[in-house]
């Protein structure tokens, strides 16, 4: 669940030790999964963009008579304890879940890039200060950090995601700093400086574009973690305000009804699992695509 180490650069390709035609498999197997993952993510983001309008029923409509119905003709994924349609809640829940996760990553990546760039490029005291600060944040247990932020800011999905985002900043900072350190020594940077380009220009035009790729890769892994972290904070009692549908919150609510109505949590739970799997496979695909060393002849 920790994303720090995935910032380690992917290695050079390995030659297959035997005559197995694994290059064929690799092209189809991993790429197929990555493609499937990408397709799923597109669907999910489309749902998130469209919002609750797409759902067959109003996800917040309470109907006590119809409560706890198993999946059937009228309600494909059954109803929850208030008679609300589970499928509609999953569909409508895509938006808050995705929005929140994206926002958390936005905070983490945004702050991380700035801090990491400053540390890596400027070096010296700035680097020392930033890395000490990151060490402090890392030594601070993530959940405690999130709990404290939520206690200060109050419950609610927005605050939960701020908390999650903040706890992810060290990972991005370290990644960007590492990339900075190696890039700043490279020839094209040295020559750019030699011909008199200012630091900002160097940063903007030469260094950052190279860093984006790695940030993108880290983001895909961190997205999954953000969704889970949000869900866990719901479990601990901080999170969305009812009756907003949200996958993590509904998963948690459904836990209480596990024996009576297993579909209540299975639906949002499956959605979370599928999305995270998809993100991971897409992430792998992106990694292999972006890293020239891994590209297949």
């Amino acid at each position: 669940m920790d994303v720090q180490a995935s910032s380690a650069a992917p290695p050079a390709p390995a030659r297959p030790a035997t005559g197995r035609p694994s290059w064929v498999w690799r092209r189809f197997a991993r790429h197929r999964f990555a493609a499937a993952g990408a397709a799923l993510l597109l669907v999910v983001f489309a749902l998130a963009a469209a919002g609750p309008v797409v759902a067959p029923y109003n996800p917040e409509r309470v109907d006590i008579v119809d409560r706890l119905r198993p999946p059937g003709a009228a309600h494909w994924l059954g109803t929850d304890q208030f008679g609300r349609d589970v499928l509609s809640r999953v569909v409508a829940g895509a938006r808050p879940t995705c929005l929140a996760a994206v926002m958390a990553i936005g905070i983490a990546a945004g702050a991380g890039v700035v801090l990491g760039a400053a540390a890596g490029y400027a070096g010296g005291a700035v680097d020392g200060a930033v890395m000490r600060a990151m060490d402090i944040m890392l030594a601070f247990p993530g959940i405690l950090l999130a709990l404290v932020v939520v206690t200060i800011l109050g419950t609610g999905l927005l605050n939960v995601m701020i908390a999650v985002g903040v706890s992810l900043i060290p990972a991005f900072t370290r990644l960007v700093r590492g990339a900075m350190l190696s890039l700043r020594q490279r020839e094209f940077v040295v020559s750019a400086r030699a011909i008199g380009c200012g630091s900002v220009r160097i940063l903007g035009r030469h260094i950052l574009p190279n860093v984006w790729a790695q940030v993108a890769v880290l983001s895909t892994t961190a997205l999954g973690w953000a969704i889970i972290a949000g869900s866990t904070l719901n479990f601990l009692g901080f999170g969305v305000h009812p009756p907003t549908p949200e996958w993590g919150a509904d998963l948690n609510t459904g836990r209480e009804y596990l024996n009576a109505a297993w579909w209540m949590s299975t639906a949002p739970g499956t959605a979370i699992v599928l999305v995270i799997l998809a993100i991971n496979f897409v992430g792998d695909g992106v990694t292999e695509a972006l890293d020239p060393a891994l590209r297949r002849p």
Binding site: D2, A12, I136, I143, A146, W225, S231, T232, G269
Partner: protein, 307 residues
């Protein structure tokens, strides 16, 4: 080597103080008056509440309070819990072994699953086993901890009766919680191990070994795996903070005492001394573990020592 360790220890000190200062600041920023909370429901008058604040030292300037905290800390005194009136050091000491045991067991599970899937993935790169291996460990990340725990209990405790639902002392009570936590951590280990193993396998000495007739398995184990392990060990060190986060959930579900649940209760009750004590202990553990990792690193690779 001694100088190396010494330097690292010295570098850790500012971090320890940084963490405690940060926590201290945050706690006092959180709305809520511990004195009022402690006297809640006792019909205490505002005067009595103010009196309690004074006796807890909460009315002094922040800098003074922090200084006092540091002074007592240096003397090994973590203060007294607001909720239970017990010494914080004592309470932490009572629950720490349980969390440590869980953490170790989790590492074992994570390393086993992670390395297993990583090795398979690297050796049979591109095959369905590769994808299955990665997919299996990613599943551990995709399913939220609290959900996985409940599922494991339902299957293994209630339906099959093989393992207890509650985590008592002993190995049997440790299996489900550590699997629940460790599975999630294994994902990143799988990815790292696989990637590093692939890189190691591409080295010339591997082809030489094959040319000399060594079987694939032996090659992996004797030559490549050692190099692949180094980053994995580093990673384990970084996980300490996240381990506690996951432990909070797992301890709650399996009814296990530990630092995690102690911390959550303390936060809800604004039990400042306990919160500070827990954070401090976790930070210390994080630093010590990372120091140990770096020492191991340095021992394995002399280039690091003077870096």
């Amino acid at each position: 080597m001694g100088a190396f360790i010494g330097r690292r220890l010295l570098a850790s000190l500012p971090i320890v103080f940084g963490v405690t200062a940060l926590v201290f600041l945050i706690l006092h920023l959180i709305p809520g008056d511990p004195a009022q909370i402690m006297l809640f429901g006792t019909n205490a008058t505002p005067d009595q509440i103010a009196g309690l604040r004074r006796s807890l030292g909460l009315d002094r300037p922040l800098a003074v309070q922090y200084g006092d905290f540091v002074w007592r800390l240096v003397h090994g005194d973590l203060g007294v819990s607001f909720i239970s009136q017990r010494r914080v050091a004592e309470e932490i000491g009572l629950v720490f072994p349980a969390t440590a045991t869980l953490a170790l067991a989790t590492m074992v599970v994570a390393a086993t699953v992670g390395l297993g899937a990583g090795v398979i993935g690297a050796m049979y790169r591109g095959s369905w086993m590769d994808v299955a291996g990665t997919g299996f460990s990613v599943l551990g990340v995709a399913v939220p901890n609290f959900w996985l725990s409940v599922l494991l209990i339902l299957v293994f405790a209630v339906r099959l009766g093989w393992l207890p639902a509650l985590s008592e002392g002993g190995v049997r009570g440790l299996i489900l919680p550590s699997v629940s936590l460790g599975w999630g951590f294994s994902a990143i280990i799988t990815r790292l191990c696989r990637a590093n193993l692939l890189e190691a396998l591409a080295q010339p000495y591997v082809s030489t070994a094959y040319a000399k007739g060594l079987r694939a398995g032996a090659v992996v184990v004797r030559h490549a795996l050692k190099n692949a392990l180094i980053p994995v060990v580093t990673l384990l060190g970084l996980q300490v903070g996240n381990l506690l986060s996951g432990a909070v959930v797992v301890e709650t579900i399996f009814g296990r005492q530990g630092l995690g649940s102690l911390a959550v209760r303390a936060i809800q009750a604004k039990d400042f001394p306990t919160i500070q004590g827990v954070v401090l202990v976790v930070a210390l553990v994080y630093l010590l573990v990372n120091l140990a990792v770096d020492v191991a690193y340095a021992a394995l690779d002399p280039r690091v020592r003077y870096g």
